[in-house]
Amino acid sequence: MGKLIKDKFLFWLYTFFVLLILGFAIFAPWLAPYDPYDAVMRQSLQAPSDGHLFGTDKLGRDCLSRIIYGARTSLMMTLSLVAVITVVGTFIGVLAGYMGGKIDTVLMRIVDMMLAFPGIVLAIAIAGMLGGNIVNAILALAAVSWTKYARLGRSLTLKLRQRDFIAAAVTSGSRPLHILWRHILPNILPTIVVTAAMDIGTMIMELAGLSFLGFGAQPPTPEWGLMLNEGRQHIQTAPWLMLYPGAAILIVVTIFNLWGDSLRDIMDPQRVN
């Protein structure tokens, strides 16, 4: 009993931090001391000071403001990516699991094919080939990440299909779509949501990685991976340019990972560490 109370406390604590990050992203215009796009050439590459807490970049833009706005870019990209792969992957998996037969075989062959290949390599190739921008980076990672949810959705659906209440629904003449929507989906949703929550941290990092390579967000967008790439050229003279955006990624990813783990712990209390 004590463990559940502790888990719940931790979950709400991490939820508070997650909300704090979301707050930074949403209220960026009010929180950022400067305009993140405002280039003041006379103040380029200034070390952190009272005027610019995190210093300025090559174009004299305020780093702190760009990091705060960067939360917006990163979270918007990540949440859309996770939403896309969760919805598409689960839909395909549930469909394959429920329908069975040929549809199942074909869909699962495709999933197997994608899993037999290092996804990030393909994502780099896709994002680069489509042309570096935010939407293409999301598409590229979505194309290689939906398979996990398809697998999960399928195996959960297969387990549910054996249950009596599904048989009852079938015998009482419910249409397949109704069964999927009213009986299958609500039952598999918790597991899917927990998996998605635990994926957010990884996705933030992979999106930042694509931006770092130049295949994601493009200048002058404030984005952490891109800022690291820009800062790399000034590593000798302006180390703060690569220190703070990386620290921002580290903090945000850590919080989302902790939050995802704690969500799993309260959803599944029997599970031992």
Partner: protein, 313 residues
């Protein structure tokens, strides 16, 4: 693994390769950039419409999609992966040039990763829920949340620039230039693998025969060496295969950070230059490497797991 299974696996690998190559080929066909313009821009001359059309015809880029694809596929089956636009040499040669850099780096990173994570994972499991366990778990949790390219930049700054322990500029394959990228890659991999080692060892330690051995008074180190580790080994080898999949992608980013002359750096440049044949060759190459490694992992099972050797299952 028996002969029949092996054939089945190889056929499956071929289908996957076919699918992956079809996917990348269609992406390149649909992608907005024009390789012909990039190619002629390199020459740094003003080009006429005719030259562009001529070059396009020369490269076969004016043909419809399926003609282009099957022509390329037929070439690959005969061992010809086409000409790289940007490097002006056969794709296969360009890949051979970059392969050693990546292989050396990947191998040294894997070894370093094992040297870090196996002892840490075992210690963490043996001293479960004690300060040492919390320390190792805390560090590995942080490691999982750190982007590898940032770790690379920090190491470069602290060890390379401030302490001047290692040369910072890459460009060639040599031992002292390899230390920082190896360290970066192995830190990222070790963070994940330490947790997996811990889980595998804990699972084995929870078995009843271990309790039996401890009751009979066997010392812990003997139990670990004789019983726990050999048994925990099998799942860990599978996970190692998966880690190498991550490594093949992660190495691309790290090679960019350290200007390491390997496949990853080559691929990023090829993508930027719209060098389609080279990108296509790279993707295919990585696919073969990854699936080959995982096949080896599965074959090694047959020798490591005596239950399979007897052909019982």
């Amino acid at each position: 693994m028996k002969g029949k299974e092996l054939v089945h696996r190889l056929i499956q690998m071929l289908i996957t390769l076919f699918g992956v190559s079809l996917l990348t080929f269609s992406l390149m066909y649909l992608s907005p950039g024009d390789p012909v313009e990039m190619l002629l821009e390199v020459a740094d001359t003003i080009v006429s419409e005719e030259t562009i059309a001529e070059t396009r015809a020369q490269l076969g880029l004016d043909k419809p999609f399926h003609v282009q694809y099957f022509r390329w596929l037929a070439g690959v089956l005969q061992g010809d992966m086409g000409m790289s636009y940007s490097a002006k040499m056969p794709v296969a040669d360009r890949l051979w040039q970059s392969l050693p850099g990546t292989m050396v780096l990947a191998a040294s990173a894997t070894v370093t990763m094992l040297l870090i994570s196996v002892p840490c994972g075992i210690l963490s499991a043996v001293y479960r829920n004690r300060p040492l366990d919390y320390l190792i778990r805390g560090i590995s949790f942080l490691g999982v949340s750190m982007p590898s390219f940032w770790v690379g930049l920090i190491l470069l700054y602290v060890l390379g620039l401030k302490l001047r322990l290692f040369p910072i500029a890459g460009g060639e394959v040599s031992f002292d230039r390899m230390i920082l990228p190896t360290l970066t890659l192995s830190i990222a991999m070790a963070a994940k693998y330490t947790r997996q080692v811990r889980t595998a060892v804990l699972e084995e330690l929870g078995q009843e025969y271990i309790t039996g051995a401890r009751i009979r008074g066997f010392p812990m180190h003997k139990i670990l060496w004789r019983h726990v580790l050999p048994n925990a080994c099998l799942p860990l080898i599978t996970l190692l295969g998966l880690q190498i999949g991550w490594l093949l992608g992660g190495v691309a980013v790290i090679e960019m950070v350290f200007s390491w002359p390997g496949l990853g750096k080559m691929a990023v440049h090829a993508i930027e230059m719209r060098d389609y044949p080279l990108v296509q060759g790279f993707v295919l190459w990585i696919a073969v490497l990854y699936m080959g490694i995982n096949l080896l992992v599965d074959i090694s099972y047959t020798y490591l797991d005596p239950r399979l050797k007897k052909g019982g299952c």
